[in-house]
């Protein structure tokens, strides 16, 4: 606890611009500590990027932590074409886009019904949905796996003619699993919308659907934006569901397909590094572009209202 700075400065001082504040040793210590932590957090990422830019032969000889003799983008090209990354990205999009949309649509209506209407058992519903989201996936995975092999699908939806090993199956489990979290967050948010808006509409004779779709949903834009970035990240990063509920290698989402870059007899870690960087890129871009929404999403539900 040596890093706790002295008590709050008197007002006169804090009004001055930070640059003219006297340099205090504790403040320097604080910055040194934070710089070290930030480096500790960034170095592994930088290392992956660095490894992906160097030939395997060179790192095998000198180790990953050495000065480069050559830098090359070849591994990116190789990961892109040889590992067929475009196809896996496409698989991910086929799963994640409907996944996010359906989850938000279902969750927003359910949250609306729970938060804004007086339906019997709404509290129980909310508890059941929220608790479902907290279960570890492995608790339900065994019967789910069996269930998926038993549910028939027409051949145009799934080559295996069952829910197992189909895009639809993955979309469904994402929806089912993530939906509880979204209901919880949205119901909390909707409670903060003034009751009067709905009342006015009621007097005008608006039905349930109209009050949900036309009145409530447009007010939920910030929550929807935050939840969609978060859900995109979570579904994109999924590894387990695809591992258990898919068997055809060519249908895998990109995160699970990363394993395909491991050779059977020998693994080129530099190639794998390039693959990892490419796989991580979309979420990092979303994070940078939608920084505010992302943070809002992470902290949703932690501060009420």
């Amino acid at each position: 606890m040596t890093l706790t700075a002295p008590p709050a400065a008197p007002p006169a001082e804090s009004q001055r611009s930070p640059s003219r504040r006297p340099v205090r040793p504790l403040r320097i210590l604080l910055h040194v500590f934070l710089v070290l932590v930030a480096l500790g957090w960034l170095v592994p990422l930088a290392l992956a990027v660095y490894a992906s830019l160097r030939p395997y032969e060179e790192t095998a000889r000198l180790g990953y932590f050495s000065l480069p003799e050559h830098l090359t983008l070849d591994y990116y090209g190789e990961a892109w074409s040889q590992a067929e990354l475009p196809r896996y990205y496409l698989n991910t999009l086929i799963i994640v886009i409907p996944g996010v949309l359906i989850t938000l649509f279902m969750a927003s209506f359910t949250a609306f019904a729970i938060a804004r209407l007086r339906i019997p058992g709404r509290k129980t519903l909310l508890i059941v949905f929220t608790a479902g989201n907290l279960l570890p996936p492995q608790v339900l995975i065994t019967p789910l796996y069996t269930l998926y092999t038993l549910i028939p699908l027409p051949a145009w939806l799934s080559d295996s003619q069952s829910l197992y090993d189909s895009y639809l199956g993955l979309i469904l489990i994402h929806v089912a699993f993530q939906f509880g979290f979204c209901v919880f967050v949205m119901a909390n948010f909707m409670r903060t919308i003034p009751e009067e808006i709905s009342e006015a509409a009621l007097v005008d004779g608006a039905g349930v659907w109209k009050r949900y779709w036309r009145l409530t949903l447009p007010l939920c834009r910030p929550v929807l934006a935050a939840l969609s970035t978060l859900q995109f990240t979570w579904m994109y990063n999924d590894f387990l569901w695809a591992l258990v509920l898919m068997s055809s290698g060519d249908k895998l989402p990109v995160t699970s397909a990363l394993n395909n870059l491991r050779g059977q007899f020998f693994t080129d870690y530099n190639l794998l590094a390039a693959g990892s960087v490419l796989v991580a890129l979309p979420t990092l871009i979303v994070f940078q572009l939608l920084h505010k929404q992302f943070v809002a999403g992470l902290t949703l539900g932690s501060t009420k209202g």
Partner: protein
């Protein structure tokens, strides 16, 4: 709050029944139904095909008595929980407290800390290999050691927990930061006027107001610890020192030997542990809401 309860029209009822009905069917059919089925299957010796035979508590007995990975997994899950809860989470809180004051470069520090949160644990597992690998990893290159960090079953769990904490700290930090920003500054001022130093002000005044956030962070920590899977699976499929309950369940159903009944018994152990926390959390949550 005296909104007159109006009768719903026929169309309203249809919309509600369809909307909520689909939600309930999906949730019960794919989440709670299978969860209950796990409990049922755990008392059978089903192998995925063929007849289901009832064996009562046999699987649980075998689990405890004849399946060494089970106890390693229990130990590792407990370690994981302890490590995240006692080291990573407090560290995240500490960083949040430091970053809560007006600092130059605060945004940079924050971004650096929670950048790993957006990465998948599979990618984190891979990056861990670059750092820890025995012959070409950075750690050995820098320190001159020749330790097989990931292969030595007596230390690899610690190393992997550090990698998991790398991601967890940023998550906790950002949640606490949001909470700290919401604390009324007047509280801190009042404490300062009363002569409290910064540490006393934090522990006696600020920290107690963070209670709802503490509960959320606790739940996230527990759930993350019980769900941990991807990272060890990406490293060595959760073997040789990296056993976790979640991995054992998956191994028993997708492996060559499909032991569904046995795998379910492990899942039920996981369920019982999680339900304890889930029930505590929810009752806390809804009690507060009722106020």
């Amino acid at each position: 709050m005296a909104v007159k309860t109006r009768r719903y029209s026929g169309r309203d009822v249809t919309v509600l029944v369809i909307g909520l009905g689909v939600a309930v069917i999906v949730n019960v059919g794919l989440i709670w139904g299978p969860t209950l089925a796990s409990i049922g299957l755990s008392a059978t010796d089903w192998g995925g095909i063929g007849p289901i035979e009832w064996v009562g508590g046999q699987n649980y007995h075998d689990l405890a008595a004849e399946y060494p990975p089970f106890w390693s997994a229990i130990r590792n899950n407990v370690l994981w929980l302890g490590f995240l809860g006692l080291i990573a989470t407090p560290f995240g809180l500490f960083c949040a407290v430091l970053l809560d004051r007006r600092l130059r470069l605060s945004r940079f520090y924050q971004s650096a800390l929670y950048m790993p949160v957006v990465l998948s644990l599979a990618v984190v597992g891979f990056i861990a290999q670059l750092v820890y690998s025995s012959d070409y990893g950075v750690l050995n290159a820098v320190t001159g050691l020749t330790v097989d960090w990931l292969g030595d079953s007596s230390i690899n769990i610690w190393v992997v927990m550090v990698a998991a904490a790398w991601r967890h700290v940023g998550y906790v930090m950002i949640i606490y930061l949001a909470g700290l920003k919401a604390v009324d500054p007047a509280l801190k001022e009042a404490a300062a006027i009363d002569g409290a130093n910064e540490r006393q002000a934090f522990f006696r005044v600020v920290f107690p107001t963070l209670r709802p956030i503490n509960v959320i962070v606790l739940v996230i920590t527990v759930i993350e610890a019980l769900r941990a899977f991807d990272i060890v699976y990406a490293i060595n499929k959760g073997r040789n020192g990296l056993e976790l309950l979640s991995v054992l369940v998956t191994e028993n159903i997708v492996g060559e030997a499909s032991r569904i009944g046995f795998g379910s018994a492990i899942a039920v152990v996981l369920l019982v542990i999680s339900l304890g926390f889930i029930v505590t959390y929810l009752s806390q949550l809804f009690r507060e809401e009722g106020r």
